[in-house]
Symmetry: C2
Subunit: 228 residues, 2 copies
């Protein structure tokens, strides 16, 4: 016996569709959306689309300009820096808590996702590597066993996920170093060395932030097309 989970409302699936389209790059960054067009494309009315866009705005994935339109977010250098700093704070704190209060499960989950990433790396599977990476960091957050923290994390991380697929299309990021850093974190966790694990993790996210910065600086194009 378990509480039955309600079937997802139309608004929720609509939000998932649009979120997925943004993260996957189907809807380009900065492109203009329209409630009506999205509703027509998804075969629903404007109401759920409107609700979904409002939810996505709170995730930072879209920006609703009153009476003007809704736009996919555009990566601003400062905003990305702030997001990465925020992410570092949440993840390092979660890692600290997880090692102390949830060591066995945390280590197991990290090792599993680490293995998945190594397999993907050997198979040159960029998408698989990204999935493993998300799984890895998600395990860190879940290890803290704090739903408020997890909710906040998921709400702030979406734009970074979208940026990742937009900037690193075909394994162009330094996956070798990334893999080594993940393994270093796992080793530190295995040794229950909180300080080392936290500093390794902070460095890892810092490197990602640096990669974002260099990529963003080289992309001055601000092309605002219509997508929907």
């Amino acid at each position: 016996m378990q509480p039955i989970d309600h079937p997802k409302s139309l608004m929720e699936v609509t939000a998932e569709q649009i979120r997925c389209a943004i993260v996957s790059g189907e809807l380009p960054l900065g492109s203009k959306l329209s409630e009506q067009r999205l509703a027509d494309a998804l075969g629903v009315s404007r109401s759920p689309v409107r609700d979904a866009l409002a939810a996505l705005q709170s995730e930072g994935l879209v920006r609703i300009s009153p009476k003007r339109g809704t736009f996919v977010f555009t990566p601003d250098l400062r905003v990305v820096d702030e997001l990465c700093e925020h992410r570092t704070i949440l993840e390092t704190a979660a890692l600290h808590l997880g090692i102390e209060r949830n060591h066995a499960k945390l280590l197991r989950d990290l090792e599993n996702s680490g293995a998945a990433m190594e397999r993907a790396l050997a198979a040159k599977d960029a998408h698989g590597y990204t999935m493993g990476d998300h799984q890895f960091h998600n395990a860190i957050i879940l290890g803290a066993e704090n739903r408020s923290l997890a909710k906040s994390y998921n709400l702030t991380i979406s734009p970074l996920k979208a940026l990742r697929t937009h900037l690193f299309t075909i394994m162009s990021e330094n996956t070798d170093r990334s893999m080594k850093e993940h393994l270093a974190v796992i080793n530190a966790v295995r040794a229950k060395d909180v300080e080392l694990a936290v500093s390794q993790l902070a460095d890892h996210i810092g490197h990602l932030a640096e990669a974002f910065r260099t990529k963003l600086r080289s992309e001055k194009s601000s092309n605002v097309k219509r997508a929907m």
Copy 2:
């Protein structure tokens, strides 16, 4: 001549009204709301009310149960613990950053709000003390100069603000110790002693969490009345 700032949308003022009513205690915790009644009471249609409630749900102030009704949140012991832990993580990280990159302004703001709290304390002004307290912690968050962090903080802190007014009606909390702890943080910040400031702040929030716990344990009543 100056650029005219757009008047707030109906949804925004509606959300502010309802949020204020919850935080101030006008709408009791756990009470059942209704889009229709709220709309009638506020003199607007159901649309802005609905949007506002959705926004308040993402703040954790209300819980929308599909087809059943919307309820003001109820303080769950574990949820409150998690909120306080989350809050500690955000504030200590912000304080750390603020001392390093924004010391002068941070110290000034903290001293100002500290003085306001002392005045309120001398005048037995409970409301004034609470306002000063909010100002104090807000200054810490703003000191980090990270909008993502600040947004996340404001989104998670609302239930705690509501709890404070619900649990500590008439100066029943230990304001003397609270005041001393605030001053201790200020002194540590003045001395640029990051470690000390952070640990003092963590202790302070921990004490608040403890006060919440004891209060909540003594309130077993789960009276769900209708308010709107």
